[in-house]
Symmetry: C2
Subunit: 389 residues, 2 copies
């Protein structure tokens, strides 16, 4: 286990009907002017918008709106939010939506007290020193953004998709109501499942020795997502399944609690960012395609971890099998699960051929090798993309 620092100050309010606690949260924080950040309008269709507005009005808050946050949130939208906050004297940012909405709201939050352009934080030109307080009401189980300080923002002018992480960007509170995810369509439910499993993979496949607790915490989340994912897809209003998935999504990436002291990998995310930067496919679709192939490419680096993964997470029977066979059975079980729940398994499924393959590989390693489990150079990335065609 490596040395580490860990802190996660976010207050979680979890359960059916918790959205009705919003007014109380705003009141007890003493906030007066709220920037309401949301996406394309699904929160209006589901009646959540009206509930939020009425909660805010009841506590006398002034409401400023930033609607229309994109699925891959854009820095232009973030800049608009920052301007609004400054003009209207906003003292609380409230994100109502999924990971993209939350990520955009975080970028607004850290951008307001900064004199330069918020994009500076994404390209590491400046360091985040503070933020407006942020609250969230989550409508999609996936990214874990509700309990971490991470944000991914896209800059289409420069064709760049970049991330930042900061202790200042953790939400002050996050309201997690599993019933708000009942109406999430099947494909987005699938994306959420793939997303949270991928977050765990990036932490679990690590070369750091002596981390038995962390490995088991990761396996706990994977097993629970795997079991409950299929139930939620068959029964979208099954409370227990939706609640279990929601909690898994949050714990999968809540500031690194499940992988403290472990070196993370994140190579597959970096490759996927280049795929979706060119083809604008859903992040999770790219991850579902790439991860089993990444696994096949790297498993020999530390076959014991892949054997453990196969046996503990997928209940592969190790009897009479070589380590190689066990490890490969676990990888195949991962691919088969993604396929079974309806995620794509090949780039061809998304209409992607080898035309841009070299460009994606080159961009992925622009700043050097990616990943730590097996550091990948351009040839490695190209090979994984080739396997994924």
């Amino acid at each position: 286990m490596n040395s580490f620092e860990f802190q996660n100050p976010t207050r979680i309010l979890f359960g059916a009907g918790m959205a009705d606690q919003l007014g109380e949260q705003v009141k007890s924080g003493g906030w007066k002017t709220v920037l309401l950040v949301y996406g394309g309008g699904s929160i209006k269709k589901m009646g959540l918008y009206d509930r939020v507005i009425s909660q805010l009005q009841q506590v006398g808050a002034k409401i400023v709106e930033l609607p229309g946050v994109e699925p891959n949130p854009r820095v232009t939208t973030v800049r608009k939010g920052i301007d609004l906050c400054r003009e209207e004297g906003v003292d609380l940012i409230l994100a109502v939506g999924g990971g993209s909405v939350l990520d955009a709201a975080k970028a607004v939050a850290v951008g307001v007290p900064y004199e330069g352009d918020v994009w500076d934080f994404l390209i590491r030109k400046a360091q985040i020193q503070g933020a407006l307080p942020l609250g969230t009401v989550l409508t999609l189980s996936a990214t874990g953004s509700e309990m971490n300080g991470n944000s991914v923002i896209t800059n289409w002018e420069e064709n760049l998709k970049k991330a930042f992480g900061s202790i200042h960007a953790f939400p002050k509170f996050s309201i997690l109501d599993p019933t708000l995810t009942y109406s999430v369509p099947a494909d987005q439910t699938v994306n959420g499942i793939v997303d949270m499993m991928s977050h765990v993979f990036e932490q679990y496949f690590s070369s750091t020795p002596d981390t038995p607790l962390q490995e088991r915490l990761c396996e706990s989340i994977l097993q629970t997502v795997i079991e409950n994912g299929e139930i939620a897809l068959m029964e979208p209003t099954n409370y227990a399944a939706r609640a279990n998935i929601m909690l898994c999504g949050t714990y999968a990436l809540n500031g690194g609690m499940i992988s403290v002291g472990m070196q993370n990998d994140w190579a597959t995310h970096m490759i996927e960012h280049e795929v979706s930067a060119i083809y604008d496919i859903a992040h999770a679709a790219g991850l579902a395609i790439l991860f089993p192939n990444w696994m096949k490419y790297v498993y020999r680096e530390r076959i014991d971890r892949f054997v453990q993964f196969a046996v503990r997470v997928w209940q592969v029977d190790p009897n009479g099998k070589s380590d190689e066979e066990i490890a490969l059975a676990g990888i195949e079980a991962t691919r088969a699960y993604f396929s079974r729940i309806g995620a794509p398994t090949r780039l061809a499924d998304m209409g992607i051929g080898e035309e841009q393959l070299n460009r994606m590989a080159t961009e992925t390693v622009r700043f050097g090798t990616v990943g730590s489990f097996k550091p990948l150079n351009e040839q490695d990335v190209k090979a994984i993309l080739q396997m994924s065609l």
Copy 2:
């Protein structure tokens, strides 16, 4: 899963040599006058006292000392600390030691801004509204006090041992250096192992349905403690084993993260408090004796949880066994483990007979039944104590 609120703002600094980060923590907090709280002097023997003092001096902090905190910390000592803070204008309380020292420091922290007597918080006569900031340097893996807002304080004048929990009492930072536990004697290492396992038991044996993630998180801690406990006892300076145990102790009771949305039990702790209130035995010794007997008394309430416990935590082979047999094998494995690491298994081992048995049972249920997995009345408690003789 029940609805829940969860927040844990404590910053953790974990790893070998982390005690040398203390000065930086104090400096960055802007604190000037520190109340140094510690116990019987073991921190002087191990050289930690000098390191702490030198760190504090380097950042120019004024140091006020509260030494001599008892293994079962007394409210009289807490009151002394509160007086010192007020007289000297203390703005940071720094606890260096194990759970008792941390618990005493928390009580001082919440007592300073309160006009009445701190004992009011323990008997629920007043509610905690604030606290002085608290930092900790942990020297013993056991209670989890380093990352929660709980404190247990004893009042010998009234023969009462009571607990409080408050979000205000979470440490601002806790330094967890596994090498500081190298010199912990075997019996205290055993007590720590029993203590953290017992904390998980109180959460894991729950009648709340649909909590698969939380159950697995609990099992993850139990399995890791079980494996590493014996290693740490055989090789007291094995870093990996000490680090794994330390992390398990912290996660076992860090504000309820592993059991969010689950009703907890805590009956065994309440029975044990009455045993140690009369006989002044180590808390963990009482728990090691009582827990397997509590399990035997209650397992039929929800045999599936005990079957799962036996199979997943103790690898009991379920083939050809009835649920009853599997459950009992798991309970016996627990008892055998405690015995193997050197914990007592009968009250007789501690020289306790049936003389005070009725009194202990009566005191345990003074405010009604205890526990939730199976609510225990006086007869139940008496039966469990009888089984433990």
